[in-house]
Symmetry: C2
């Protein structure tokens, strides 16, 4: 049997995070909509009912226009755009939940470190210990241009800067001793100044005087999450992250990733088991195998080719309009993208042309669909962890999110719980507690 797993709801504060047109729904399903707080609150409450560890928000700061050099298909089909700010959504979700954690993506390129450290510490107070930070260094040309930054920072310098950045943050989070606040009402004393220090940081890229403007928060530091894919990114994650979000399409490539992270973790003096690895997946669950298959056929049939092309072109920085859509994929040579195409080619099914690959990408980016009855899906999830390793899954909604997560929580979670693979109750109060919980 696989070990106890961790589960996260994986979205973006946008109409359709990873499956194109998943904002489309049957009118019977729900009345509230993606740009209203009630939509997100209902999803958060569903995830908490299912005892999920957390609700994870990816983010980006611009629309893509790599494909055909235009934003039009991105706007027409809501291809990961518009993207509303996730940081100011989360407190509206923590207000209607008690236990569910929240991890938010914030970029070291766009937030000054003093601002980021302050927002996260405040969020840890507002959520009462339930906040995580997904650390990203941003890269997209269009994001830079929205911030008036003309030149891209070279990739490796990005991580050198990110090192210094997290150093500033950690110094700020440590600038108040845990017992610095006394709040002595009798003598009118708020804090002991001897237990609060300036940080007087002067680095190559950042400088900051401090101290932090927020008193020590329930978790002290936010729960740290990372998703680096490059060598520099993996080193950074192996050094700092408490959880890593991984995208792999097969148990074999999962295992390679797990072993690589373990090796890097040891290099930095950390135990591999102290870094949780969470895999992006899109389970499609039905009461019968046929119902599940029909759900997947419906969502696949809905993916507009132009949306998939715009999405995949943007993620890989290649304008795919220049390639032949219907030639056999095996014969094609598209620089920088061959790895993902090979993975699609090797997957079961008839995915053999670029058109097929693009449609599949539009239906879930590089996350596998796991389609079947609750028992079949639970089997596959257990098997993935046994064969590929890692600690759990980031579950992205394959169709209209409120209905999707209801299906997951009502159909799949009870099976995982019965098998002893997932908690029946939260044992702690904070996100870090949840991610450390060993047994259900």
């Amino acid at each position: 049997m696989a070990k106890h797993m961790h589960l996260s709801g994986f979205m973006i504060h946008c109409p359709a995070p990873h499956t194109m047109l998943s904002w489309v729904h049957d009118e019977k399903v729900a009345t509230h909509r993606w740009h209203e707080p009630g939509y997100w609150q209902s999803i958060a409450q569903t995830l908490e009912r299912g005892k999920f560890d957390m609700f994870f928000f990816a983010d980006q700061w611009a629309a893509y226009d790599i494909y055909k050099d235009t934003m039009d298909p991105v706007l027409q089909y809501a291809v990961q755009f518009p993207v509303h700010d996730p940081v100011v959504l989360i407190p509206a979700l923590s207000a209607v939940t008690k236990k569910l954690g929240f991890t938010v993506t914030m970029s070291t390129t766009f937030y000054p470190p003093y601002m980021l450290a302050r927002k996260l510490s405040t969020l840890d107070h507002v959520t009462q210990g339930r906040i995580g930070w997904n650390i990203v260094t941003s890269f997209h040309r269009n994001e830079m241009r929205n911030f008036g930054i003309d030149e891209l920072i070279p990739h490796d310098e990005r991580y050198a800067r990110a090192e210094e950045y997290i150093d500033v943050c950690k110094r700020l989070w440590g600038s108040w001793d845990p017992d610095a606040v006394v709040m002595d009402m009798q003598h009118g004393l708020f804090a002991d100044p001897a237990k609060i220090r300036k940080i007087d940081f002067k680095g190559k890229w950042y400088s900051c005087t401090g101290p932090a403007s927020v008193i020590p928060s329930p978790q002290g530091t936010p729960y740290l999450v990372q998703a680096g894919a490059s060598a520099a990114g993996r080193d950074y994650a192996a050094q700092h992250a408490e959880a890593i979000f991984g995208l792999q399409l097969s148990p074999e490539s999962m295992r390679v990733f797990v072993d690589d992270i373990a090796q890097r973790a040891r290099k930095f003096g950390r135990k591999p088991e102290d870094i949780k690895i969470m895999w992006g997946v899109i389970p499609i669950v039905g009461k019968t195998a046929e119902e599940a298959a029909e759900k997947e056929r419906t969502l696949m049939a809905r993916i507009p080719l132009e949306a998939g092309m715009a999405l995949m072109s943007a993620h890989f920085g290649i304008d795919l309009s220049k390639y032949e859509l219907d030639a056999p994929l095996k014969q094609m040579d598209i620089p920088g993208i061959q790895g993902i195409l090979d993975a699609f080619i090797s997957m079961p099914g008839k995915t053999i042309t670029l058109r097929d690959a693009v449609t599949r990408y539009g239906a879930g980016v590089a996350m596998p669909h796991i389609v079947g009855t609750p028992e079949q899906v639970a089997d596959r999830m257990e098997q993935l962890l046994l064969q590929g390793g890692g600690d759990g899954f980031q579950i992205s909604p394959g169709y209209y999110a409120p209905a999707y997560f209801q299906d997951i929580v009502e159909l799949l979670i009870p099976v995982l719980q019965e098998r002893g693979l997932f908690r029946k109750e939260y044992s702690g109060a904070t996100l870090r507690d949840h991610m450390s919980q060993q047994r259900g």
Copy 2:
């Protein structure tokens, strides 16, 4: 009779906003505390019960150390520090209220304009049309140093930059036509690309490509508030603000301010009546005049001299430790601060030494206490608007905030409502609706 007035709760996300040691409370009063969301949620619910227009959050990004060149008294007495982030608190308050508006202070120096515009538009969605922006250009040396900015931007350049800044924001807020989003489920079309435009802004200080990453929000643009005191600041406010927050200690100086803003508004082609002026005040209400006077004596007796010295030194940029505390104030010459001292000298009572002035400042900054029975306080508020002009009040808590606002809402508001000076019900849904409401 004065016209219908507008009311705002005026705080900072900190232990004791404008009255030193107002975090101290009688244990009977409440169990929750200032760093917990429940504390702020209860205050927001009280304000909404009292039909307040809004809950206004001032902000700052550092601790002060002008007084004696140390942060120690600031830390010891919580002198407007620690200050938790207000932007991520507000969604937790809008989640437990339906009508109350929220105005948040965000600095044009520390937030990049694309980030600020996105956060405010998202907040307008999350609060369903109840967000306002208090526009500030920051200035404090210590704030700059937390952001690694060594040199202060000259005052007038600050406002020239702020002009360009708001231009970028308004272009972003206008980059989607109101009918750009179609969400046509039948054809799978999200938006009409022809109705969404890049802004391609290249200015002297800012550049930004756009379009906005947020769809048009309920208010379109956040409600714009400003508090400029200098000539450049007043021009900026007269040009852009829908409401101005004013601090004056007498009806005569209020009238001078109102006339000055009216003149500047006309210069920019605006009607003076389209700019609401809200005065900072601290009503201390008791069931009897003696109970109110006793409340004020208690809070005044609590103000630590060092806290008042640190606060006043910081706000005026002068280390007051260098001056004689007990000499008659009239004989002193303290550069840059004489205006406020003259105002204190001219107020009724025995405020005649620097010690007295500093204690008074620590008890409410430059906001007058209005002390008495509900009828007496209502008389004074009505009189202030009749004599001084303006449209309403920003009410800062003179003592422990949850209890303070309960007293205001239970004792004072009903008297204002009976006199037809304040609404009995909200007539609209958005903050802009509330601030435009003419009758109760």
